[in-house]
Amino acid sequence: MIPDTVSEHLRDVLQTGFRLAPWPTEPGLRAIGNPGPLSPVLVTCNFDLTVRRVTRAMRGVDAWLVVAPTSGINVWCAASGGHLSTHQVVTALKTSGVAQRVQHRRAILPQLAATGVIAREVERRSRWQVKFGPVYASDIPRYLAQHENKSEDMRHVRFGIRERLEMAVSWATPMALLAAIPTMIFRPSWLLPLVALICALAVAVFTIYDRLSARRRLYLTSAALLLAVAITALAGGGIAALVTAALASVGGTALLTFDYSGSTPIEGGSHFKEASWHIQLDLDRCKGVYFCWQVCPEACFDKREDIRKVAITRSDSCIRCGACVVQCPTDALYFENSSGARIEPESIRRFKLNLLGQRTVDMGGIDKAPESPDPV
């Protein structure tokens, strides 16, 4: 038998490398530490890696962890793609048996779930009050120690070097594997340079690209590809170099046309038509409840407590995740494009039309407002 800690590390490595695939773990209730009837209840996704990380981050804390059935997908992707919505949270709170273990009805959700989960709907349908905790699991102990008060830094996505490298690994691993199979068969000697090139490109994409303009990306990628082809030509020459150049061009085009939105929490689909939609505020409707300010991962909002309103002060940072639109109880926020077309809040809530996840619903045709679900 493999010892638990070794198997845990193996799973960490495997699931980081292939984190683009779903890795489901059994949903349900888990006890962290020695929780009692008054201990806090936290909800997370059933992506195996996340559950282990949350559990590790909470060493020394007594709490209940409710693992929701999100198809084995992580919080951010599941929430923006419709796998972590009001339904999954209601299901988890009702079926995990947590209600029999605690005397209160308050659950804490990860902040990045705010794109998919409508807090007030969960309350209406499950009688559980939910609030959005910190973005990062590592901040949970501090958040609980601060009597469930989120300080400024707990609300924002940082996307530091560690996360960037992790994303690079998760893209490079499947790509390198795909490239490695034919290479091993036809040209084993190219294996190492090819894998190195893929890894270098992936690291470049996730560490540099988001800081560059589209034009600079083009120059940089072209230069890298030309260099690769030149090296190959010098080393082998002839047809081999031509084949490499062709393959490299295909790879380069794929990289250039890549849509990184969703892969990084700091890029909002700048390559596609989503970029023309902007967040707008209807000031008359704003009642100053500041849910938008609480859930925005990019700090786009400022409170204006003198008039009890918010202001969109950093709309350039907006990644169109729609969390603010979903949570606003007075429908004061919506997306609008340059020609004045609107996406109403209800469409965003219902179809997860957050411009990060769902794109199959034609934005031009969504005004056929579907009937709202009626209770039995």
Binding site: P27, G81, Q88, T91, T95, F351, R359, P373
Partner: protein, 219 residues
């Protein structure tokens, strides 16, 4: 290859659900759905609760047999398809509701003659399934029928091994084509009996990997 292509593929899964399921079940699904509807609706006017109606394929058959159907599904895009499929149904014959299966706990006790679930229990976790079966028992009138068609673990060891070997490619295919993350139910009959039902009938298709089970809430 771009992430957008993959996203589009995954997100458009509801549009391919029916065709994909036909492919995955080698065409058996239509026969199973018809058998399910026939066993669930004893007489016209039966009040039926359907858990996870998806695109409404079973719902349509239930309505055609004269049932009054309340159908739950948590996927709004699937419901849109069900809505267009059932648009010509008699008024009041069908009510499509965007709800998760666990919310059948809000149904009135003993208010249905039948509870039907096609390929939805295998998408649930064990605790969710236990909860839903217990609540189905509560929602059914005594003598009411529970009818389930779903992926099941074969009884024969050789078939289990064969399907286990096929599991990874099959699961990957199902995920990409129809967005399904199901797992075969280890022992459906046992779970149904454990919820208090009396199993009356069981039939298997496709190397025992698809099961149709009906059970009765005892009087």
């Amino acid at each position: 290859m771009s992430s957008l292509a993959l996203m589009r593929l995954l997100e458009s899964a509801p549009l391919r659900y029916d065709a994909g399921m036909r492919l995955l079940t080698l065409g058996k699904i239509d026969e199973i759905r018809a058998a399910l509807a026939e066993l669930a609706v004893a007489a016209p006017g039966a009040r039926v609760l359907e858990i996870g109606c998806g695109t409404g394929a079973v719902t349509e058959k239930l309505v055609a047999r004269g049932a009054c159907v309340t159908a739950y599904d948590q996927n709004p895009e699937m419901l849109e398809q069900a809505r267009s499929r059932l648009k010509d149904s008699p008024r009041d014959a069908v009510k499509l509701v965007e709800r998760t299966a666990a919310e059948i706990d809000s149904c009135t006790e003993r208010s249905f003659d039948a509870v039907v679930a096609c390929l939805s229990l295998s998408e649930m976790s064990r605790s969710e399934r236990d909860f839903v079966l217990a609540q189905a028992f509560r929602a059914l009138r005594p003598g009411g029928i529970l009818a389930i068609a779903d992926e099941a673990r074969p009884r024969a060891a050789a078939l289990r091994l064969w399907l286990w070997l096929l599991r990874v490619p099959q699961a990957a295919f199902a995920w990409l084509i129809v967005g399904s993350v199901s797992r075969p139910i280890p022992n459906l009959v046992k779970e149904v009996n454990a919820a208090g039902f009396h199993v009356r009938y069981e039939r298997r298709w496709l190397l025992q990997s698809l099961a149709l089970v009906t059970a009765e809430r005892p009087l």
